[in-house]
């Protein structure tokens, strides 16, 4: 995506909507792109020459940021890639050997990676869908006009402002058997779950992790969706009202479709975060009871076992997984974002 975005002349530059999706990423190409669009279709050689000159100028202007990007993004990723193709000895200091794709083959043929892969996706599916549903509800409520709305909008963001590790420890304490708030309240009310060892039981442990994540990041999803709500023109609602549409009909047929780009955006952000989840299961279960995620696996190999090659291969696999999922999102849901972006102009 980087090359195409940075050098629109080489990609589908003729398509004006191409750039809009990516927004600020290509701010530097702006002026030349606009002018080229203006001259498109005339086709005489003078314009082409000027076009080329402008393209070269664009390259020169983007070079500094390109170098910076290479240093901060490409170099570490390239280096991790290189590390993942080698083995570094834990027994003899300084010894390393090139093993090609062995680290990947070992990871992909062993049970640990696939177990973590499945658990991570389960966690992402559960937490993201809950966050989107609750986030939408929250956004709709926050969009209503009432006294103290500004204050409430700030207050709901509080969970998001708390360090995840701190909230994880809080949840751990609340779900502690015998002593925890949740277990005690459930027992006192005679509800089921009071005598369950939540973090020591398959399924229950995942539920706590999902709950902790939903509690923390629903406000974030709500905030993005709220921004989407505010750009829906009031006239649309007025027209619906005149046509005698009920509240529910308005929500289903007007709000939701127009809100889709914002929801998709929130879903992309949240899914990418959820697939890399580390802190919650690390604090709550240490990966026990089928809650080991892809990032935890990479951490264990890299940090605890100092298996640099194996750990890097797992990091790259995690990275590829997250990237693949985001590409799928942009491919299938991104078109929607484009349409709306175009419509707003």
């Amino acid at each position: 995506m980087t090359i195409k975005t940075l050098f629109p002349g080489r990609g589908r530059a003729g398509d004006p909507s191409e750039g809009d999706v990516r927004g600020q990423g290509q701010a530097g190409v702006g002026p030349s792109g606009t002018r080229r669009l203006g001259s498109r279709g005339t086709g005489d050689s003078r314009t082409n020459a000027r076009d080329r000159a402008e393209r070269r100028l664009a390259v020169r202007m983007t070079a500094p940021s390109l170098i910076l990007m290479a240093l901060v993004a490409a170099v570490p990723i390239g280096y991790a890639l290189w590390l993942s193709l080698n083995q570094y000895s834990v027994r003899t200091a300084g010894l390393s050997r090139f093993v090609g794709l062995d680290n990947y083959i070992n990871a992909l043929t062993g049970p640990a990676w696939w177990a973590a892969f499945g658990q991570t996706f389960l966690f992402a599916a559960l937490s993201v869908s809950l966050e989107l549903v609750l986030g939408t509800a929250m956004a709709v409520l926050l969009n209503l006009a009432f006294k103290g709305r500004a204050l409430l909008r700030t207050v709901v963001l509080l969970p998001y402002a708390i360090v995840t590790v701190v909230s994880a420890i809080t949840w751990e304490t609340m779900f502690q058997p015998n002593l925890g708030l949740v277990t005690n309240v459930l027992s006192a009310l005679g509800l089921p779950g009071g005598d369950v060892v939540w973090l020591g039981e398959h399924g229950y442990a995942m539920a706590v992790i999902v709950l902790a994540d939903v509690w923390k990041t629903t406000p974030f999803a709500a905030l993005i969706i709220l921004a989407g709500l505010q750009v829906i023109p009031r006239e649309t609602y007025e027209a619906a009202e005149l046509d005698g549409s009920s509240k529910w009909q308005t929500f289903v047929h007007i709000t939701l479709p127009l809100l889709r780009p914002a929801i998709v955006l929130a879903a992309i952000f949240r899914t990418m975060d959820a697939l890399r989840v580390f802190d919650l299961p690390f604090v709550l279960t240490r990966g026990a009871n089928g809650t080991e995620t892809m990032s935890m696996l990479a951490y264990t190999q890299l940090r605890e076992n100092r298996l640099v090659g194996e750990g890097s291969a797992l990091s790259i696999l995690t990275f590829l997984t997250v990237m693949a999922v985001s590409i799928v999102y942009i491919r299938f849901a991104g078109g929607n974002i484009r349409d709306v972006a175009k419509g707003e102009r």
């Binding site: 050098f7 290189w82 027994r91 200091a93 039981e201 690390f282």
Partner: protein, 463 residues
Amino acid sequence: MDITQLLDAARHGHPLTSAARHGRPLTVADRGRPLASAARRGRPLTVAATALAATLLLSACGGGAATPGAEKAAAADPTSGANASGNLTICGGKDASGIYKGTAAAFSKENPKITAKYTEIGATTDEARTQAVQRLEGKSTECDIFMLDVIWTSEFASQGWLLDQTKLVESNKDRLIPSTVETTKYKERYWGSPFFTNAGLIYYAKGKVAKPETWTQLYAEAAKSAGNGYVYQGKQYEGLTVNFLELLYSAGGEVLDDKGEVKVDSPQTRKVLDFMAEGLKRGSADRAVLTYNEDATRLAYESGTFGYERNWPHVYRLLNATKLAGTFDVAPLPSFDGTSKASGVLGGWNLGISAHSTNPGAAVSFINFATTPDWQKHVAMDYSQAPVNEAAYSDPEVLAKMPFAKELLASVKGSKPRPISPVYPQISQAIHKNVYAVLSGTASTDEAVKKMAEEIKSAKATF
């Protein structure tokens, strides 16, 4: 486990940092020029290709030649401490009890020619290990002595990061408890000197439950009534490895034999696993232990609804500050069923001399001071740690501060090190993951034992 440790994890789990640790540092000067000129010529793809090629080339150089490991390590000269002078830096984790700074100050006072200071390089044990590893890999001369958790010794020694202390340990051996010396051994040589040790204890509610004589008796007694229950560390982490090994050792089992062969697939392992799983089912131990680390165990026991608790010695002081003061007693870890010897697992900290120390003489002098019977008394009295000198345990001044010294000594003397291997972290994971699977009921004993043995074997085959 706290925030700093996790932040640290987030920071260092990133591939970039591991890259920096293992390769030559990448400098901007190396790459800036070719990139800039390529950019001037206006060939975008060349720029990208150059950047990538430069990355790969540089990392290729990073591999480097093998540095001498344990085989070629230099030895610390036991006589070099006598005339040492200058500065000495001791590095380790957070000094919660004040023992490190206190020892450095007392040492400097007695040896005016040497100025010793203690540097905290990490807030937690894990972070201190990372920091120590980074300094040692970078051949830093900042630290002369590293505080080594007993389980790090073989890993650090195998990397050639430590001076061989065999001669020094031999010359001090008569004043050190043999089991604590064993924790510094790797490939028939000693790589550190024990500073203070640690061993598990059983805390029990006297009057309510019987004194633990054997594990089978403790479990039976604990199952008798709801208030008699036993709590221990059953969360899937290092603590579970320790709790399991204590039972395994006391049943006469082992993980690795003297030659390092994997011996964990044994009748003893099966017996102990069945015993622990059965204990959860019959209610000897509360199922909540599956989520307990040391602190959670202590807090649960402080609620007063349990009969027995397995924990470290530091809990004694904490328990005495609660409403349970005076209602509990302390016992050494028992034998499994009376037919085998009582045993346990040693914790504690050793003093390792960095291979890159610029003042190894002063380090030797410090180690000699720290292990003297006199200073070992202070280790117990002033800092509530378990001494590595046997006489200290029967000293009346120590007994006044540490009434359970006799029980602690029994636990320490009977205990053994955890499996000695440079890949110990992997071995420990193989243990606690599979033990947890049996306890939580997701694997049968047979499956778990076979898998444990297999995973330990493949861990031992690590390059």
